[in-house]
Symmetry: D2
Subunit: 371 residues, 4 copies
């Protein structure tokens, strides 16, 4: 099966999508082959430059043109969050498979997007790339196999300092019309990880704070604009499987570049992971011999699929763009019928429902159940 691919939004994420679709068929053996066809940007000149630099034969300044192109079967949406719903619905209506970046949309929008995709029978994907890491899969295997016993507790966070500086101008991530602030934008990743590892979250108690109340308007002399989304969001959570946890999102934490970290503790052992060292997974096994116990620092290698598809030797390490390639693989497999690793719009919707439950809980000062 050979399918045409089009990209809407050629910024940072658009580039990584491009590289992922470019490499996926060289790295993996897959039933679907992809061809890069067209890139859309908000204006034709920008699109033309993107086509040239990213290697697309065609471009357009009108994303609807791309969606209407019958030679395109798969569409990536890598634009600001407030556009995701409209574009996704249009793409789905045109029968395309849709791969949309996170945060997917508001829960209300995500519900519509999910319903539309499922009704249309197309495949959808949301970009929770960190769970594509081979070591994340190892973590889930360890949990599922009972190696660390019954899970008792979870601590997860996604923490960065990208908005630490109060002088960073107001921009779309801070728009209250979007899915939310730190918890929606980056916390959605750790919620996706928590769900990937431990299953559904059924109840939350949130605490949400805006620390920097306004930001300068870019280009506006001395003007500022109020920030109505949060900088820090924390939540206590209950998982359906019975264990409790705490989750934190923060985009103003000094010195933290990608603290997508978690610890899962069980009755027989525990695991710890830190995204800044994402080729490593720490595993504690209480069954190790007394006097020799201690966290094993497992280092990614070919024994942790699909690492070996990228490098046959351990120690070489994958990078972020490789995670994206794995994500594209899982999307193509879903298109070919194997949805076992598809992270669909439904998953994006579940995550966003959790985000919004945390917001509601914080506003209403009470535990909020997710139905």
């Amino acid at each position: 099966m050979r399918l045409g691919y089009g990209l809407i939004g050629a910024g940072f994420m658009g580039k990584t999508h491009t590289l992922g679709f470019l490499n996926v068929n060289r790295v993996f053996r897959l039933p679907v082959e992809v061809e890069l066809r067209k890139v859309a940007e908000y204006d034709a000149a920008v699109a033309e430059r993107a086509a040239k630099s990213l290697g697309y034969p065609e471009f357009t300044g009108d994303w609807r043109t791309l969606i209407g192109d019958p030679a395109i079967h798969i569409v990536s949406i890598a634009t600001p969050g407030t556009t995701h719903c409209e574009m996704s619905l249009a793409a789905i209506a045109a029968g395309k498979h849709v791969y949309c970046e996170k945060p997917l949309a508001t829960a209300a929008e995500a519900e519509k997007m999910t319903a539309a995709g499922e009704a249309a029978g197309v495949k959808t994907m949301v970009g929770f790339n960190y769970i594509k890491n081979p070591m994340m899969r190892v973590a889930r295997e360890i949990i599922d196999s009972g190696e660390i016993g019954e899970v008792r507790t979870f601590r997860g966070m996604h923490i960065e300092d990208n908005l630490m500086d109060a002088d960073i101008p107001w921009h779309w991530r801070l728009d209250k019309a979007g899915a939310g602030g730190a918890m929606a934008d980056i916390g959605s990743h750790i919620l996706a990880t928590a769900r990937y590892l431990l299953g559904p979250i059924v109840e939350v108690l949130g605490d949400v704070t805006t620390v920097i109340p306004s930001r300068p308007v870019a280009g506006g002399a001395c003007q500022t604009r109020a920030v109505e989304v949060e900088d820090i969001a924390r939540a206590f959570v209950r998982f359906e499987r019975g264990c409790s946890g705490v989750i934190e999102a923060n985009w103003i934490a000094a010195g933290r570049k990608m603290q997508h970290d978690f610890e899962v503790s069980g009755s027989k052992g525990g695991i710890f992971f830190s995204q800044e060292r994402f080729s490593e997974l720490d595993l504690y096994l209480n069954d190790d011999r007394p006097g020799r116990r201690g966290f094993h620092k497992i280092f990614a290698g070919p024994e942790h699929p699909p690492y070996g598809d990228f490098c046959i030797a351990p120690g070489h390490q994958l990078g972020f763009n490789d995670l994206k390639t794995i994500e594209v693989r899982d999307f193509l497999r879903a298109i070919a019928g194997d949805t076992s690793d598809q992270t669909s719009f439904r998953e994006g919707w579940e995550v966003q429902k959790t985000v919004e439950a945390i917001y509601r809980s914080s506003r209403e000062h009470r535990w909020v159940k997710l139905q």
Copy 2:
């Protein structure tokens, strides 16, 4: 000034108190000199063995005898928590300076103990030993001096695995008549640290869980006893200074031996500390040159008092018993009139009020204010 010293309770903590009082006058120059006089245990034979092994010239099987001894001016109480109030009140009534281990007592008891000590004009101390670490002092200096700007957020925890194994028998730490479970017993340390670094906590939202509902009774064939205190306690907190935070206590976390860790993030930088590497403090300064920024791993040395009183060269490292010696120093200084580093019963009471507010908050599912 030469003062006599007596110890009640010659277990683990009693031994560290003994070493602290033994060493303090050799390590530091102080206005008070201490002489080890007497040790009390619950029975005379145990006390005799303790006297011999710890080097006390006298012993008694009746702690009231020790308190009544006019040659003793300072008393350490290192017995199970439910005895702290009675013993402390008796010692205070006898005009002794009292150094009691944590958790001090229930808040109601601690209030009485504080009032009694202050009324009697004796000096009191509670054993929050981790804040005596030179690197903890560096952390507070960094915060107070504004090196990391305005503090925005705190994450603190005290996590161990000492009760991870469900087969560990029921014992006094699990007694609901005591100050509480994980948050009282070990979480009190991180609350003390939080207060030491950032000042009063004024509001909490707690989440408290008992994971292992019953424990075997020691020696009792197949008998179990219900555990009515928590294994895991978490709280969102608000500090008087305005910043928010999250605090976690857990004594069933696989592989964690002393995760008394914290991160403080501010508008200009941040600090991270982990007790398992307590000679280190990580400092991020946003003012460092771009391209060269990164957490500085500060390693304890003579430039971090009172490290130099123990070792004149860096890299040698203090141990736990040295922290205890610093604590004794601060107590002796308080007795001599300099209370600047005294961690008095009032502080123990404040910490326990916070513990109990977390419990109430968790029961009542609402934020609880500390008056």
Copy 3:
């Protein structure tokens, strides 16, 4: 300029070359554009499978056919080391630019290859990929700018455990007709790094050992073959700039997956690097404020070019295949006339001369000068 590319040898390294050439024009803006044309393997069926999986339109079972193809201007050689000389000379004779994996060849061969390439006016490259890491460039900048003062000492190593198991069969890396053992195969990387950071090595004192004296013959029942190359090689070195150092190569070191580590210490500071965490560089600056000194853990980000060409945000991290893409960039730039980052056959020859001087030194028990 649009050039055709052909690959000889489609194993592990061949795949990374393919991905590098595939991605380089999407990641970077370059004066040369490359088109994947043909892959050669030792037989046509293998080549056909490689063409299909790696995405080459053409294939051949005869590498001379590839070299003879006028549509191919750039050739990668990713075959076992004993073939490098013959293939490179043939490719150079055909006017191709040649990118050959390390270890390049014996010093005698490498001399011929260097001379041939320079005489023919083609560009050559040898695959010392680790020096292409942005953090390696930062390290060199720190040294060159004098940030750590006058360099006093170097410690470098490239250590793995890939041959730790004595049951691993004899294979081409163990062939004494090749460039050598651990020092040639993996130590060449740390020699290249040492030279990249500090310039020429002028004298060595070596110590070379074979620990596992024979290996089973693959498929041969109970047959073994003697190993005549070293498992461990160490050398004391003198750099032309005056400082001394020690270098170690070892491919039987338990648990080490990619310990390509170095420390450079100078009169004003020092740097430490470990390949297993290759997004980090530790920097100690003695000019930091007393009490706040400590190794800065610099984390790779857009301020460390060319990181930003892969990801615009810090914390995402490059992987091994990205290093290869940077290497291809530098090769293409050299072809276009900018040889500032070319790691040519001459460099491969210099490294191999150092390898062989270490071997001679070890045999003759004396310091050996490199002219």
Copy 4:
């Protein structure tokens, strides 16, 4: 058995000896009890101050007086190295047990000291304190039990930055009449560790360098004095057991406070240790389950004797002065007849012979055998 103790030299090391002898009978149950009696310094006023601050009832400005005191049975010598031989011989002649700091003396002196001690039947000890760490004992157990198989290679170092600054004045450590420079002063520690773990070193190939050729004379305006001992010393070594290794001593390495680190690699696993985190030992076991292998970070606890004599719970950690207490314990046990952990003058002599063999090897550019 109750013995009197006297200290010569009340500087940094004298203080740690004092604390060790003060604590040893409280921490451990031992057949010998020690009483602090007298301290000697180079003049009476200094000695008086030391007696007061360290808690000795008597003092003297003449060390021979101390040695002549019949109430003193054990003498510590914690003075500059050039005095060790004379003092030790005098103490031995007076029938005292002698505990002398490292570096013990020149090899010629150490030979005399060893012979005198053995002839007199007194017990001697040299202060290689780092091998007293419980984790060091674990390391040796792992090696001796075969847990990591046959040992193949050793890398050890003792590296500091205490003389990094070229402005530090000339002082006794730099006196060529002493035992030597960095290798004798701090490298002796790692040689002792290497021997403790792996047994005798039988051959060395050294490389010794003085980087800072002269130092200012303290108090002398603009005067400098030549440094005739080395700043950096490296050696390749062969152990009697057959494996090879490399050892490095350096006291000018920027940012390193106590890099007393080693790695031992064997046919079935390996261990890594770093003194700056001396409560940890990393252990790699190739027999761990594939996919779960990785260095175990073993954290010191009661299962690693004699940790439990200091603290009954893991995670609390020992400090440098505790290592000294263990050393005193081993000395007292030797005095009582159990010499299994005595690190006698003979061991100090063996280490110094190795130091001097390294120096000779470096001067003569050849491997030097230790007979």
